[in-house]
Amino acid sequence: MPKKPLIEFTDKGIYCSAGDFYIDPWKPVDYAVITHAHSDHAYTGHKHYLAHHLSRQVLLYRLGPIDLQTVEYGERIYRNGVEITLYPAGHVIGSAQIRVEFKGEVWVISGDYKVQHDGVCTPFEPVKCHHFISECTFGMPVYQWKPQGQVFAEINSWWRYNLANGLATVLVGYALGKSQRILQNLDLSLGTVYTHGVIENTNQALRNNGVELNPTSRITPETPREEIRKGIVLAPPSAVGTTWMRRFGPYSFGYCSGWMAIRGAKRRRAADRGFVLSDHADWEGLISAIDATECEKVYLTHGYTVTFARYLNEIGYDAHEVHTLYGDEEAESLTQAPTDEEQSNTGINNASPATGGGDLEGAGV
């Protein structure tokens, strides 16, 4: 009988039978190892959670009271003799790749990752392994990121222009990840950073976790509009087009996302400015990350899996597509699938778990 693989792809998630645990499962299980706190990876309903220290407060904020154990990068955990170690994924603060080793066989599950340093989260670290399970959200060669310094120069100069022209500046990005990255890279000599409740709650959770973030000011109904116009507003995507956002008008609104690299996607968003800024690896980033693992096999979980697998096979990798619920198709993120990032002016987010696949709106793309 052929040996059972160390890691299997099941209808509940990525499963290790020898250690009896799942990684980022989408159905309730006993033991879940969580790569990061975005809604399509961290579902509610599991009995026990294992994640990185810096994910603790955000997970508790998003999922409510859960049985959660957190560890440092590099710290070893054993389950039935299977070794579990977390390595930095560079995606968002607290994001991890999960290294699983048993009897000399090593698997790495990347979760979501980027190789570019963002100055906010612990930089991505390549981990050697036999089997690498990778995302490929932007696994098409048209996606090539500019150095982030260039993008932030564009953002800061756009902010400066708005200030000079009496426009409020509203910058849209995901609450966890993008928002902190923006916050830490803005030119704060220009003005105050005002935040939407969902973003401020996330910031607060991270600060409670000991993460040092630049000062922000939560927007309340009492915050004077003239003051807001002198600063910048950080808002989640779900706030776009709501009365919450409209009351800052006249404003210019910018959207930070990897999808902004394509003109059509940018025009669909109808943002005044689209900034190409992603927390995922671009085409070159994906290939270099896979190459650095020196793996024998690559499994692609979500993104442009079909195309990317074909290309990897052509250049000599043994690549396979696997079906997961981290978005089972190309560019799912563009659809208006239900999201847990629903805006709430009160800032209270009863993080409902993702409803089915394709919930990449919360996935920090």
Binding site: P141, V142, R263, G264, A265, T307, L334, T335, Q336, A337
Partner: protein, 538 residues
């Protein structure tokens, strides 16, 4: 080129009309005059000839991108725009040239004469010296796909603000047959222009719909409220042909279509009557196929549009005539300032004098005394092979562009059936990487027969829901086309239906579009092929 690339980007990035006008003004104020004229040419659809065929461009782009051809094609599906795909895939994002737009277009125009090897060398070099945004715009011009999401109105407004000339004058001056190489900015903006272009048409006056959608029916009372007394209006049928302006000046004739294409050669039947008109005459009307004095459906005319050579057979099967409804110039005088009624009299006198009444027809006035009466007449549009009725205020001047107030179209409601979506394909441009182009089917017994494709009619929100459905309910993939689980039902509207041998269903629809998503209907309750056949009316 840098300024032009920036203009394109800035226009993309501004959603508000005033911002767009500001950006356009800044462009006019900063670039040299030749660039202004080239920009105007491009923005009004006057593209340079393609110097290199698109297969070669594509092949060289694949080479420059250093990726396999199939991956290039996959990327194109994701981006939904060839020029953009090429610019994104090529390495390098640094501009090392200072050539103006005019200089680049001159290079493009001269590239056609080069050998294939020289062309390749020139193109590879050109790509390498442009940054991504410049390369994108350059590719757009090069591949002839240059279109911009800015109406000519806005461009004219900006130009008007910069030059101090009024918009109607400028709109007229950029009509017709001119080249940016020979039409200079100074000529364009001189206070009194000596018009040396005898072919130049007038800007078309376009009507607004009186009723925005078929769901919002206009009652007779509402018409009374909006339009006032029926006696102040004339009504005509709304003909479904090619809107055209026909010019006779200095012994020469010109036929312009609405898209500002010179189409004189496409309608030889009309030449004798035009040649017989007095010099200095300009007519406005609709070109239609006719047989035995009756208009034929648009699809008959369609068979000869786009043909390079009009064979004897085509001329026999689809003979055309013009139904004239306005006269803009008479005895070399611009009479657009005269009232609708006065112009009509001029038109009638011209038509009365023609010896070719078979080819120069009048659009008859519909007699009516009240809006009630007209509403009843409108119901017979389909039998007249018309799309509805046109309302023109008797005192109206002939205006520039689409204007509310004096000309209205009152179309008949579309025909419609409920159909099941069976195939889906990704869209282009703004709809790139989303499944937005669908094929619909009706029941033939227990089988679904595809009968129409439609792209428009859904909101962005509905499109993302359908896209979500398609990605999860794909049965088969054929290249870019997906066979989808038949489940979603839509009401498909269309203007007309005709027999067709080229379609499996045996019918061809005119202007099919999605009227609404029938969430309430299971697929079993969609319409049948018999329903469609019954609409053929025979």
């Amino acid at each position: 080129m840098r300024a032009f690339a920036q203009l394109f980007l800035s226009l993309d990035e501004s959603n508000k009309t005033n911002d767009k006008i500001r950006v356009l003004k800044e462009y006019f104020e900063t670039v040299p005059d030749p660039d202004k004229m080239h920009m105007l040419a491009l923005f009004t659809g006057r593209k340079p000839k393609r110097p290199i065929n698109s297969t070669l461009i594509r092949n060289w782009a694949v080479e420059a991108s250093k990726i396999p051809g199939w991956l290039f094609e996959e990327s194109y599906l994701v981006v939904g725009d060839l020029a953009e795909t090429m610019s994104l895939l090529m390495p390098g994002d640094y501009s090392t040239n200072d050539k103006t737009l005019a200089e680049w277009i001159m290079e493009i125009n001269t590239a056609g004469a080069k050998t294939e090897e020289e062309k390749k060398l020139w193109l590879m070099d050109s790509w390498a010296m442009l940054d991504k945004q410049e390369r994108f715009v350059f590719n757009k011009i090069l591949t002839g796909g240059f279109r911009v999401g800015v109406s000519q109105n806005l461009v004219v407004k900006a130009l008007s603000a910069v030059t101090g000339l009024d918009a109607a004058t400028l709109t007229h001056r950029i009509m017709g047959n001119w080249q940016p190489e020979t039409y200079h900015y100074k000529q364009l903006i001189e206070a009194q222009q000596a018009s040396d272009d005898i072919s130049r048409p007038y800007p078309f006056f376009l009507a607004y719909p009186i009723q925005e959608t078929s769901e919002k029916q206009r009652s007779v009372e509402e018409l009374q409220n909006t339009l006032g007394d029926a006696s102040e209006w004339q009504a005509e049928w709304k003909w479904d042909g090619i809107r055209a302006q026909l010019i006779k000046r200095d012994g020469r004739i010109f036929i312009w279509s609405r898209g500002e294409d010179l189409a004189t050669d496409k309608f030889p039947e009309l030449h004798p009557f035009l040649n017989a008109l007095p010099d200095g005459t300009v007519l406005d009307g609709e070109i239609l196929s006719f047989s035995q004095g009756k208009p034929l459906p648009f699809n008959v005319l369609q068979t000869r549009i786009g043909r390079k050579n009009l064979s004897k057979k085509i001329l026999e099967e689809s003979p055309v005539a013009v139904i004239a409804y306005d006269c803009l110039e008479y005895h070399a005088e611009d009479i657009r300032y005269k009232s609708q009624q006065e112009r009509r009299q001029v038109l009638e006198s011209l038509q009365a004098a023609t010896t070719f009444p078979e080819y120069f027809r009048l659009s008859p006035l519909i007699p009516f005394n009240s809006w009630d009466e007209l509403a009843a007449v409108r119901e017979q549009s389909r039998a007249m092979i018309a799309e509805g009725v046109m309302l023109k205020r008797k005192s109206a001047h002939y205006q520039v562009g689409r204007r509310r107030g004096d000309w209205w179209k009152w179309k008949i409601d579309p025909l419609s059936v409920d159909a099941v979506m069976v195939y889906a394909q990704k869209g282009h441009g703004r709809r790139a990487d989303l499944y937005t182009d669908y094929t619909f089917a009706v029941w033939d017994g227990d089988k679904l027969v595809p009968f129409a494709k439609a792209y428009s009619g859904l909101t962005d929100q509905e499109i993302s829901k359908v896209d979500y459905f398609v990605k999860r309910n794909t049965l088969e993939k054929f290249g870019p086309v997906r066979t989808v689980k038949p489940e979603l039902v839509f009401e498909i509207g269309f203007e007309g239906i005709n027999r067709s041998n080229r379609h499996k269903s045996g019918v061809a629809l005119r202007f099919p579009r999605i009227l609404r998503w029938r969430h309430d209907k299971p697929k079993e309750e969609a319409d049948t092929i018999e329903t469609l056949r019954a609409l053929l009316g025979d």
